[in-house]
């Protein structure tokens, strides 16, 4: 009997050892979207696509996993680089022997030249404006690339990092597939694209030839589930190993309390800003804009969103971005003063303004809090609630007197300042981006800072620009909302997650999944 037991036990052990060995490590995560967009890093800037790019592609340099700080930029496809004294000529020395997925051969300087040229071409790229200062990109030999700039830019390493246009694609694959590249993207990353089921999922498989070593995890399925409760439920039942969370205190607490989840709260903070349309009366009067600024209570907003996921910010550029001005002087919460200003401007009985807002809770909920705060100071906001993409179109048509907008951008002050506050970016113009306020008081500082070689001077210009924007009350920066994900304790990312420009916990070759 004992013998039998022992045999049974050893057989059991042997088989379980065998099954662990054979058991493929398959990780399933869900993000908040209805489908993948176009899986081409030069085309799509959509949140849900970024995490795929972060696993499939590499740049010349990269932000170390778990960080989005410019100080943590490290070699990726380039092993080393040097720059000319004026900062206009950059030479990158490529790593040798890096293979593209799907047998597309070795990555060489030709692929880098092709990729950066493609990223700069508005016909093939959604991020071409980042590369307007690129005078030329040349291959000096198979493993050396030289970039020449027409004018200095704030962060060259930033635009050749593993973020959007900096991702290197296989020239041969992109040429062969043409417009279909986005349904079969070919990169050099730890995971290779395997399958796309529209409206359902994207599947990635481990790239055994990855130059940093083969990944521990065999495959990743990224499911697109737009309903937060459906994600939460499927996570609870163990169908999902990792999910995009809801950016609320309550959610973080509930998830943490289950004891079966690790909640990651990380950078970048998406800054929520109330842009005030100065081209639309009564906001053409600065006193009315100042009244709005005095009526807003940031502390209350942060308390509403929850201190674990939100933090107040008074500067137009988010915290953690290179050039953020932490010492900006701003108009403090003072509803009495707001009423006085309105009366001075000729509105003793207050004002009523129409405001378009998306139906999505992440903006709609704080807008309702703002509505109540403003009403207390005599500013009545009539909300026109719209379907999300209709709202995006409407605010770009310049029809809303105030626009509450949330965004995370490349973490250098220039990006934020240019897109939201440079007069070229004013909405409803041929060069429009997202300047909803018609702000034009900081153009000079923004432009000068771009090519300023002296770092201190550059920082001073950016600080100056932010102060000018706050003084003019182009907008009222409110609070930042951090990124939130939950993962099963079985998932070990293999790095400390403090920030992610991919807006999600990227799985690397070192990440593991316990059984």
């Amino acid at each position: 009997m004992k013998f039998l037991n022992a045999t049974a036990l050893s057989v059991l052990l042997a088989t379980s050892a065998l099954t662990t060995d054979l058991h493929a490590q398959e990780l399933t995560m869900a993000v908040s979207a209805q489908s993948a967009g176009q899986l081409d890093p030069h085309v799509s800037t959509r949140t849900e696509d970024k995490i795929v790019f972060g696993m499939v592609f590499n740049g010349l340099v990269r932000f170390a996993p778990g960080s989005m700080s410019g100080e943590d930029i490290e070699p990726d496809l380039a092993e080393s680089w040097e720059t000319s004294e004026d900062g206009l000529v950059w030479t990158f020395h490529l790593r040798q022997g890096v293979q593209f997925h799907g047998g597309y051969g070795e990555m060489t300087a030709a692929d880098v030249v092709y990729s950066l040229t493609r990223a700069a071409d508005p016909d093939r790229s959604g991020v071409s404006s980042d590369y307007t200062q690129f005078a030329s990109v040349e291959a000096l030999d198979d493993y050396t690339v030289q970039i020449t700039l027409a004018e200095g830019i704030p962060s060259l390493l930033g635009v050749v990092a593993n973020y959007h246009g900096g991702n290197i694609v296989s020239a041969r694959a992109a040429e062969e597939m043409g417009e279909n590249f986005h349904t079969n993207p070919i990169g050099t990353g730890p995971f290779a694209f395997d399958e796309l089921a529209e409206g359902q999922f994207v599947r990635l498989v481990a790239n055994p030839d990855y130059f940093r070593g083969a990944p521990e995890i065999d495959s990743i399925t990224i499911r697109y589930i737009s309903s937060a409760s459906a994600r939460d439920l499927a996570f609870q039942t163990g169908e999902l190993d990792m999910i995009a969370g809801t950016r609320e205190d309550r959610w973080v607490t509930n998830m943490t309390e289950t004891g079966e989840a690790v909640v990651d709260v990380f950078e970048p903070g998406e800054l929520r800003t109330l842009h005030i349309n100065a081209a639309m009366p009564p906001f053409d009067d600065i006193r009315v804009r100042q009244a709005v600024a005095h009526a807003v209570n940031r502390e209350e907003l942060v308390a509403f969103m929850g201190a674990s996921v939100a933090r107040a910010n008074e500067a137009p550029v988010p915290d953690g971005y290179l050039g953020h001005n932490a010492d900006v002087t701003f108009l403090a919460y003072d509803p009495e003063r707001a009423r006085e200003l309105l009366a001075e401007a000729g509105y003793p009985d207050g004002i009523t303004v129409p405001v378009a807002i998306t139906e999505r809770a992440s903006l709609f909920a704080p807008m309702q809090v703002l509505q109540a705060q403003l009403a207390a100071a005599g500013i009545n906001v009539e909300l026109e609630v719209m379907e999300h993409s209709a709202w995006h179109a409407a605010i770009r048509d310049d029809v809303s007197s105030m626009v509450l907008y949330g965004a995370a951008r490349f973490p250098v002050a220039d990006t934020y300042l240019t897109q939201f506050y440079h007069s070229d970016s004013i909405v409803n113009t041929p060069t429009a981006v997202t300047n909803f306020s018609h702000c034009d008081v900081a153009d000079d500082q923004i432009v000068q800072a771009r090519s300023e070689a002296d770092m201190d001077m550059q920082m001073a210009l950016w600080a100056d620009a932010q102060q000018a924007i706050v003084d003019e009350v182009c907008s009222i920066p409110l609070f930042e909302l951090l990124q939130v994900f939950a993962r099963s304790p079985d998932v070990d990312l293999g790095y400390e997650l403090e920030g992610s420009l991919s807006l999600g916990p990227v799985i690397t070759e070192q990440s593991t999944l316990a059984d």
Binding site: Q38, R46, P122, V127, H182, G199, Q200, I225, T237, A390
Partner: protein
């Protein structure tokens, strides 16, 4: 019969054309921008413009309309603005999942609804009848998404019998397992419809003279019921199934979203949110065609169940 089908098909052309025009105009009147939806909210203006130009969105509306009609006339539903895949391919890819779901729902509806309805008719005004009538009223008033959520809570979360996300892949066993919850939640509405119809149809038939005659002749209850009554009661039930099969495809939208199942409904919502004009148009044309076909098949089914119905 062939002539009947051909005439019916021809008569659908004006209907389809009307649907096409309405859809074409409505989605363009609705605010929103496919370029923005695809490229993301911080895409540069020049990239957005280049995209619109490439997709022909800068052409005058009537040019776009003619292009669209020309495509349809050639039998092409066009290509998705987002993925570039032919719309018909996307539809055919997910159609089996929606059909599977609608069939599953009809299955539950018929299998549960018919016997209950007949039982209610046989025990007319008894407690069972009252109970079933109340239940079916509740069933009719329950929105599909609510039943779906309740079923998920009980069967997937509390008892962990079925998955929360319904993934229709794998072998037939896996597929049925994944289909069970969505089909049941959708089928419960169908149960209510079928039950009410079956009850009243059965009551009608049971009141007919020939039933009284058969009864007077001393026909056994079993034979009376199976041979004389049931077959005649089936006609309205078949109509309801045909009618509601179309409705099930419509209701499948919500069910598919709640269970995260691929299908026509999910495709429609996706295309709507992304302002993927070509996919939406193609889907609407296809759905209209589907409804017409189901109606046609229902008419044909009449002929099979009831020889008195002549298909001319």
């Amino acid at each position: 019969m062939a002539g009947f089908i051909l005439r019916r098909l021809l008569s659908t052309i004006p209907t389809l054309l009307g649907v096409l025009t309405i859809v074409f105009v409505m989605i363009r009147v609705a605010p929103g921008d496919p370029a923005l939806a695809i490229l993301g909210d911080n895409a540069s203006q020049e990239a957005l413009d280049a995209f619109r130009e490439r997709m022909g969105l800068n052409d005058p509306m009537w040019v776009q309309y003619l292009d669209f009609l020309r495509g349809i006339a050639r039998g092409s539903l066009g290509e998705s603005m987002i993925s570039g895949t032919p719309v018909l391919t996307s539809i055919l890819e997910v159609l089996p999942y929606t059909l599977e779901l609608a069939l599953g729902a009809v299955f539950f509806g018929v299998v549960i609804g018919t016997p209950l309805g007949i039982m209610a008719a046989l025990k007319r005004n008894g407690w069972l009848d009252y109970l079933l009538r109340v239940v079916s009223l509740v069933g009719l008033s329950f929105p599909a998404f609510l039943t779906a959520i309740l079923l998920i809570l009980w069967l997937a979360i509390d008892w962990r019998l079925f998955p929360v996300i319904s993934t229709p892949t794998g072998g037939i066993g896996d597929r049925l397992y994944n289909l069970f919850l969505p089909a049941l939640s959708l089928g419960l509405i169908m149960v209510a419809y079928v039950m009410r119809t079956a009850r009243s149809a059965m009551l009608d038939v049971l009141g007919e003279d020939y039933i009284r005659t058969a009864r007077a002749k001393g026909a056994p209850m079993r034979r009376l019921f199976l041979h004389h009554a049931l077959r005649n009661a089936l006609i309205p039930i078949v109509t309801v199934i045909g009618l509601y099969f179309g409705l099930m495809i419509g209701n499948a939208v919500l069910t598919e979203i709640i269970f995260n199942r691929p299908g026509l409904g999910k495709l429609i919502v996706l295309a709507l949110n992304q302002r993927d004009y070509s996919t939406l148009q193609g889907l609407m044309v296809f759905s209209a065609f589907l409804v017409v076909m189901v109606n046609l098949l229902t008419d044909i089914a009449y002929g099979l169940v009831d020889p008195r119905v002549k298909l001319k």
